[in-house]
Symmetry: C2
Subunit: 245 residues, 2 copies
DNA sequence: ACCTCTCCCTAACAGTGTTAGTGACTGTCT
DNA sequence: AGACAGTCACTAACACTGTTAGGGAGAGGT
């Protein structure tokens, strides 16, 4: 997956008990089985039958391990990439829904991926696919780059918010801890004279129709893409934009 | 700001050294001065001249404190809300840019806000403003709710990614630690036969023009909103949608 | 004077990421 | 064969985290 990584310099000696590959694999196992909060240097090391400090031979710090895990996660999602058939809008939509489904399926994956831009093979495969799709649709390279970045930001950000439990907080002069569990009721109970629109929209803001919400945001973005200029080219060559490669 | 919070039940005794209000204020001070990583129960307590366990009298756990801080942050941003004048697109654009600027100005605010939906007065003020804006523009309540949620997700997600240092990770068969610092070079160095589009787009993907990137994503979303049906009503009453209030 | 409630205290626990220093093993060179 | 150098996992430890248990000082109500 991630290759050997640490260069063997001048010939491999006794093959080590831990490799970067095994480290990432173990990390993904722990992440899926016990969740991100339980993913510590010690727990990952234990998964490998090793003690925590050994990991620092292969990885600078936990942050670097998480970067690797992020790329590993993307690599896992690659098989689910929707095929390229010709309609960019349908394909982009499928891609977004598939990505969201993946993030919701793999435990804590969105927390690991959020804000990360891992320059590894997992990310490369996903982006290559997406860029090929957009190139075929005739988008400029600049637009394609922006779209790729924007769409992943959008989906990741959405799922991140979707997964966080809606946490109750303080309303002026009202007890917190034993407060209503439904945030909709909380909002509806706000003083309607100072927050008229908010109170009136309390229900709409807190509907549990999370899929419709996602669809709305996604389709608005896609609508915005539809008005971009495109340069249709139907040469099936596939590598139409790759120069001096 | 957040009121008294904990109800005094049956008459206030000796007025306490710590109040919910003071707690939040101290938390915000620590957050701005030392950053989120340095914000611990002990450091916030020290800011109040108190020991850590005392905080648990006012707050269930750190998570609840962070929820309160999130709402406190939003409250700080309220004065910067752009005025409502009549053009929803201009106003929404101003709002998004102002929000992003705020998130980039207040240290670690985006990390605290990300994924949180604090049902407090800070959030209420921001949302009331935004909903009033959208209501005046004639959007339906459902659309207004979706737009509000979507826009905040979009901006927050974008800034979160914007602030994270682009972390280098593994490329198949290439050393990691001493790897290139510029991620663009990394991508450009990928095998061009397996990732033709990616390699060709390496520059566009990693341009440092972060403002243009934000503008692109935002304007695409706004373009998408422009095609939504609206029900123009110019009654200046302001509370046009508030029923049985 | 007693009781009860509020609320901050000390002590402690289990856990975290991370560094220092050690030593065993392996392949290469003399 | 023996010395060397590199690889890589080990033990021990540090400073720190969130959080709970239990104690006790102060104040208001009866």
């Amino acid at each position: 997956m991630t290759g050997k990584g640490r260069a063997p310099a001048d010939g491999a000696r006794r093959r080590p008990a831990v490799t970067l590959d095994a480290l990432v694999r173990a990390g993904l196992v722990v992440l899926e089985r016990d969740g991100l909060d339980a993913l510590s240097m010690r727990s990952v090391a234990a998964e490998l039958g090793v003690r925590a400090p050994s990991l620092y031979w292969h990885v600078r710090d936990k942050e670097e391990l998480l970067d690797l895990l992020a790329d590993g996660l993307l690599g896992l999602g690659v098989p689910a990439l929707p095929p390229i058939r010709g309609d960019w809008r349908i394909e982009l939509r499928e891609l977004a829904w598939a990505f969201r489904a993946f993030l919701n399926r793999r435990r804590d994956s969105v927390r690991v991926l959020m804000g990360r831009f891992p320059a590894g093979p997992g990310m490369a495969a996903v982006m290559e696919h997406q860029l090929a799709m957009l190139d075929r649709a005739g988008f400029s390279r600049q637009d394609a780059a922006y779209i790729t970045y924007g769409l992943s930001t959008l989906v990741t950000g959405f799922v991140y918010g979707e997964q966080r439990p809606i946490s109750a907080a303080v309303v002026a002069g009202v007890p917190v801890r034993e407060a209503v569990t439904a945030i909709g009721d909380t909002i509806a109970a706000f003083p309607a004279d100072t927050y008229p629109h908010l109170v009136a929209t309390a229900r709409e803001l807190t509907t549990p129709h999370i899929n419709e919400r996602f669809e709305f945001v996604l389709e608005r973005f896609l609508d915005g893409l539809a008005v971009l200029p495109r340069n249709p080219k139907h040469d099936q060559g596939g590598t139409g934009t790759a120069e001096h490669a």
